[in-house]
């Protein structure tokens, strides 16, 4: 579908597409949104039409009412008639879409255990990368998926309640500040959106998920490792082991809905930690990181 047709459909009836396990319908008449979504989500499968269509999240991004639109334009995020957030400057429309969709899933998809972490996969084995801010989690994730690892998510580990496997939800990777240039240099082929400046997190840009990850979004994987990355300027790459109980507690604290899932969530989390290598990884160079991840014994 050419951009012009995509934009007019987006403005008119909206476009519904599959993002991993979810179907999202997006409506927007904002040209910047049409262009950005086309660039980042153009390869995602379109949802069924007519009586066979089931949409999980009806979203729209609009200008809002009033004259403000002409001197200080803003973007409003609307979820099925509700506005869970205050509007943001128009330049932040794409990050707002990502935040908003995260919010929808995190606040109402309790049929999965949802953990704030990146997830990548190779040879059918997934690695969860949970991390505090500044740990370089997104950069590491972007680096790995640029070198053949499959992207599951850079924000949201979605764990199946039924069997503890991770469910892919490949979406654009949020890059912040200097990571944007690092990724442009590291992977010149990467598709990276326009930058949004002056967000809460500084300058943000979104890197499109690799095509293969989008194509294989229905292939789940078992969790082989839980690795806490820590970027430390000048440090030699070093992998050390980590307490399983503390890893479990950290994941519980950094889960969006662990507290909602009760005893089932606990059991799932305890089994997850039990069956996975729990490690801490300090690094300063992306190439080292990729080499060490590629060589992980339990992945072969």
């Amino acid at each position: 579908m050419p951009l012009a047709r995509f934009a007019s459909q987006l403005a008119d009836v909206g476009v519904a597409f599959s993002v991993g396990p979810f179907v999202v319908s997006l409506t927007s008449s904002i040209p910047r949104v049409a262009e950005g979504i086309y660039q980042l989500y153009g390869e995602y499968p379109l949802a069924a039409e007519g009586a066979d269509r089931f949409v999980d999240y009806y979203l729209s991004l609009g200008y809002g009412r009033g004259v403000r639109r002409w001197y200080h334009p803003q973007v409003h995020f609307v979820y099925d008639g509700l506005q869970p957030f205050k509007p943001l400057p128009l330049s932040q429309a794409l990050p707002l879409f990502e935040w908003g969709l995260n919010w929808c899933v995190a606040s109402q998809m309790h049929s999965y255990l949802l953990i704030h972490a990146a997830v990548v996969e190779r040879n059918g084995v997934a690695i969860i990368l949970p991390a505090p801010p500044g740990s370089g989690k997104s950069t590491l994730c972007a680096g790995l998926v640029s070198r053949g690892w499959r992207l599951f998510s850079d924000e949201l580990a979605i764990i199946s309640m039924a069997d503890g496997s991770v469910v892919p939800c490949p979406r654009p990777i949020g890059l912040k500040n200097e990571s944007i240039q690092i990724m442009r240099d590291y992977e010149p082929q990467a598709v990276i959106s326009r930058e949004s400046r002056d967000t809460r997190k500084g300058t943000v840009a979104l890197m499109k998920a690799p095509s293969e990850s989008i194509r294989r979004a229905d292939e789940t994987a078992r969790v082989g490792g839980i690795i806490f990355p820590r970027y430390q300027s000048g440090a030699e790459a070093l992998m050390t082991s980590r307490s399983k109980a503390q890893t479990g507690l950290y994941l519980a604290d950094n889960s969006f809905n662990y507290s909602v899932t009760g005893a089932r969530g606990f059991q799932l989390l305890a089994d997850l930690v039990d069956g996975a290598e729990c490690l801490e990884f300090t690094y300063s160079r992306l190439d080292d990181a990729v080499r060490i991840f590629d060589a992980l014994e339990w992945l072969q």
């Binding site: 089931f54 506005q83 707002l96 935040w99 995190a106 309790h110 049929s111 801010p133």
Partner: protein, 367 residues
């Protein structure tokens, strides 16, 4: 006559969900979510074959949430019991918390945002102090709000637990003292029934529970939850309606407590919206005792038929917002004489406008 929303059709007869297309399931889930009835729907459809996976995932999610919330209610009630048991004051749980603790059929899938309790008015200060001692803090630090609550309301400002963040609304009556109807809440306190599991904690007797739910729905003006409240009433009436003498007592009690009119509306609209079976003799008795004039009656039918639909865009007509607004004004008017009400509503409207810019930032994904 407006078409019945799909959600109401399925609430009345869960079998109706069989054979829905995916697109209809999509609509059903959205209506139920907006009406705060998604977990209730999950309960009603439990074990039914043919629910598509895409819809089941949302039902499971809501059910998980409701179950966890019910557990948290049990924990909170135990904490309240601990905080207040030494005072020897009867504490009556109201609405959602009462249904959950009493294990009533209205409980499964019932969501709530806070725990409501009723205590005798003379004990209010001791209750407040007891809760403060166990970690609850007052909210609404604005002096106007504090004074407004304490002078005109039937509850004190909500209290929030400092660690858990859970909220208790402490009531001393079921309606404000200025309300046109004058139910004697102390009569309801006396008739309350103790919970076996929590010494000192009670719930209303069956008839009072129904009357309170009806009064709440038709006087509080929160009609976005209107359908949810009708579903509560439906479950209570179907459950208690089988007990011998219940319906006779219900009408008698409504007369004794000055709550005939809310009961009249409650039975009328549960029957209309969710097909609650009401014995004909009750309908006849209430027609005689509580039916408003023909003009008011048709106006109310017209307003409630719109306002009680699920608060979802698919159920809204151009008149829905107006109907909800008129009923909101009505609820305030019923609670307070106009010379007191008017300045208050203006103040609320001004505060709302001032506050509208400070909704939560999208700080949801933790950094």
């Amino acid at each position: 006559m407006m078409a019945q929303p799909l959600l109401c059709e399925v609430l009345i007869d869960p079998e109706r969900a069989k054979g829905l297309s995916l697109q209809q399931w999509d609509l059903l889930i959205r209506q139920a979510r907006h009406a705060d009835l998604l977990a209730r729907l999950a309960y009603l459809l439990e074990g039914q074959s043919g629910v598509p996976t895409a819809a089941q995932r949302h039902l499971d999610s809501a059910w998980t949430f409701a179950q966890r919330q019910a557990q948290s209610v049990r924990y909170e009630v135990a904490s309240i019991q601990k905080a207040l048991s030494d005072l020897g004051i009867p504490v009556v749980l109201l609405k959602g918390a009462a249904y959950i603790m009493a294990g009533l059929p209205a409980a499964p899938g019932r969501l709530l945002s806070d725990i409501d309790i009723l205590v005798p008015k003379p004990c209010l200060e001791r209750v407040e102090n007891g809760l403060l001692l166990y970690g609850w803090r007052t909210t609404h630090h604005d002096e106007y709000d504090q004074t407004y609550y304490r002078q005109w309301m039937h509850e004190i400002p909500p209290m929030k637990h400092g660690v858990r963040g859970t909220v208790i609304d402490v009531h001393h009556a079921i309606l404000p003292p200025t309300a046109r109807l004058k139910p004697d809440s102390s009569k309801m306190l006396v008739a309350a029934v103790a919970l076996a599991a929590e010494p000192g904690v009670c719930v209303f007797s069956p008839v009072d529970m129904v009357l309170h739910s009806a009064t709440h729905l038709f006087h509080e003006g929160e009609l976005e939850h209107g359908l949810r409240d009708l579903v509560d009433l439906d479950a209570l009436l179907r459950h208690f309606g089988d007990q011998s003498g219940f319906w006779e007592q219900l009408v008698e009690r409504a007369v004794a407590l000055d709550l005939v009119r809310p009961l009249y509306y409650a039975l009328r609209y549960t029957a209309q919206m969710v097909a609650t079976p009401i014995p004909p003799f009750v309908v006849k008795a209430l027609d005689k005792l509580g039916r408003p004039s023909a003009l008011i009656s048709s106006l109310m039918d017209c307003l409630f038929a719109r306002a009680l639909r699920p608060s979802h865009v698919s159920c809204d007509s151009q008149w829905t917002a107006l109907a909800r607004w008129m009923l909101y004004i009505r609820s305030h008017y019923l609670r307070m004489p106009f010379h007191l009400l008017f300045p208050h509503l203006i103040r609320k409207a001004v505060k709302k406008r001032q506050g509208s810019g400070s909704l939560t930032e999208p700080i949801v994904v933790k950094e």
